[in-house]
């Protein structure tokens, strides 16, 4: 871990990173206070037809939710009305076994399947378009402009991604930052699930979150590192402390917990910014400008209230000034407002 931290620091220094430790006066925090819609699980009906939602993404004005429990994909409109559900468990074409990752690109829904180790592309009405085999454990991925899948390589030394073209050909892509290189000479250490999160912005850049160190890395279209920034310490420390406490508690139960990660999820907002879902005190998310990497936090009020759903969200989406939170018991929409000064 020490080597890893040092590597991350060297990377930051080499790229002349500007750690935005301060909070910009021009961008006051946003507050998610007012609940404007919700769709919660109910025994009486199937209004929230998901058991273990894991990701929520935007497909235009549609909310797409992946359910890893039932291997289904559910689509909702912005008022949280259910539009369509598709998917079933299995290993056959179009079937899912562990819908863990979700990317919406070019009008299609790409589902990363844990057990089948493949990425399946569907139309919004659930028609299978194509499938790409990964031949390794699923990690975060983005979809390139030509339909290629940029999949975070689970191991390897130099390239962070494997690009799998629609015709199945593969090539390495993206300089693997020092902090994400294998820690041993034999390459034993692998990239763990959630350890690296990636997405692609409309300008073609690929953004990577080193989710252990809290470092954002921007790659240009050629795969070279353009910019790195470490997330502010005020954001990271509460997350790390909470994870350390959790690891201690579980250790007392005889469990060995792997190092924790910073963000629950990384997604694209409707206006092309990065959205990190976190649980750092009252901060539930951070919106990051893709060009400058300046962060703006989204908070919830202190104490209990309907906004607790945002705290325990497994994934978030931001469309305009509406924050959508999906939890294991429902889907919630909050309107965001700038925090009052003082």
């Amino acid at each position: 871990m020490r080597t890893r931290t040092l590597s991350a620091l060297l990377l930051l220094a080499a790229c002349a990173a500007s750690d935005t430790e301060h909070r910009s006066a021009a961008d006051p925090p946003l507050i998610a206070r007012e609940l404007i819609a919700r769709r919660v699980a109910s025994i009486a009906d199937d209004s929230f037809p998901l058991t273990t939602p894991i990701r929520i993404r935007l497909l235009g004005d549609t909310l797409v939710v992946a359910d890893i429990g039932d291997d289904r994909i559910a689509l909702f409109d912005r008022d949280l009305e259910l539009l369509h559900v598709f998917g079933r468990s299995g290993a056959g074409p179009g079937e899912l076994q562990g819908a863990f990752e979700l990317v919406c690109a070019d009008g299609l829904i790409a589902v990363g399947d844990m057990t089948n180790q493949r990425i399946s592309f569907f139309t919004p009405d659930g028609q299978l378009v194509r499938e790409i085999r990964l031949d390794e454990a699923l990690r975060s991925f983005v979809v390139g402009p030509d339909g290629s899948v940029y999949h975070v390589s689970i191991s390897g030394r130099d390239a962070l991604f494997t690009v799998i073209a629609p015709d199945g050909t593969r090539r390495p892509w993206g300089t693997r930052p020092p902090g994400l290189r294998p820690g041993t000479d034999d390459g034993r250490r692998v990239i763990e699930q959630d350890e690296v999160l990636a997405l692609r912005t409309p300008d073609g850049a690929v953004h990577v979150l080193d989710n252990r160190e809290g470092v954002l890395i921007r790659f240009d279209s050629a795969g070279a590192v353009q910019h790195t920034v470490q997330l502010p310490r005020w954001l990271l420390e509460p997350i790390r402390k909470r994870h350390e406490a959790l690891a201690r508690s579980l250790a007392r139960q005889g469990l060995h917990v792997y190092p924790g990660t910073i963000a629950k999820d990384l997604s694209l907002t409707s206006d092309g910014r990065l959205l990190l879902a976190v649980a750092s005190g009252d901060v539930v998310a951070v919106v990051v400008d893709p060009a400058t990497y300046s962060p703006r936090e989204i908070r919830v009020p202190a104490g209990e209230g309907p906004w607790d759903a945002a705290r325990r969200a497994v994934s978030l989406a931001l469309h305009g000034d509406t924050l959508y939170a999906v939890t294991t018991d429902g889907l919630y929409a909050f309107v965001l407002e700038p925090a009052q000064a003082g």
């Binding site: 890893i68 844990m114 034993r188 201690r248």
Partner: protein, 108 residues
């Protein structure tokens, strides 16, 4: 249960005479923090099987022989042991995820 696999290798353990043993253990469907800690319940949402090859090099000395020749001969024996264990991903009640080594994997 979601399941996938990863293979990797552990470097040679030169001159390590202790043999390792590993036991397979499935991940529990749920985990929980203790009653004295803030409540935290995790639901298993996926597993990955890790396969490791541990190379053990043992040096032995053979003294004398039945043919009457004296002296001793050093022999090096390399043994490869494959062992597997599971890493489980749990979705916690606060929406975060933790990964747990589900094995009873330990050197004896």
């Amino acid at each position: 249960m979601r399941h996938s696999s990863i293979t990797g290798s552990v470097p040679a353990l030169a001159l390590v005479l202790a043999f390792a043993a590993a036991a397979w253990a499935d991940c529990a469907p749920y985990i929980s923090t203790g009653i004295n800690d803030p409540p935290g319940v995790g639901t298993l949402i996926g597993t990955e099987t890790r396969t490791e090859v541990v190379r053990e090099t043992i040096e032995i000395v053979v003294s004398g022989s039945g043919s009457g020749a004296g002296g001793s001969v050093k022999r090096t024996i390399t043994r490869e042991t494959t062992r597997s264990y599971q890493v489980g991903t749990y979705l916690m009640s606060d929406g975060s995820r933790v990964r747990v080594d589900c094995s009873t994997y330990r050197y004896i």
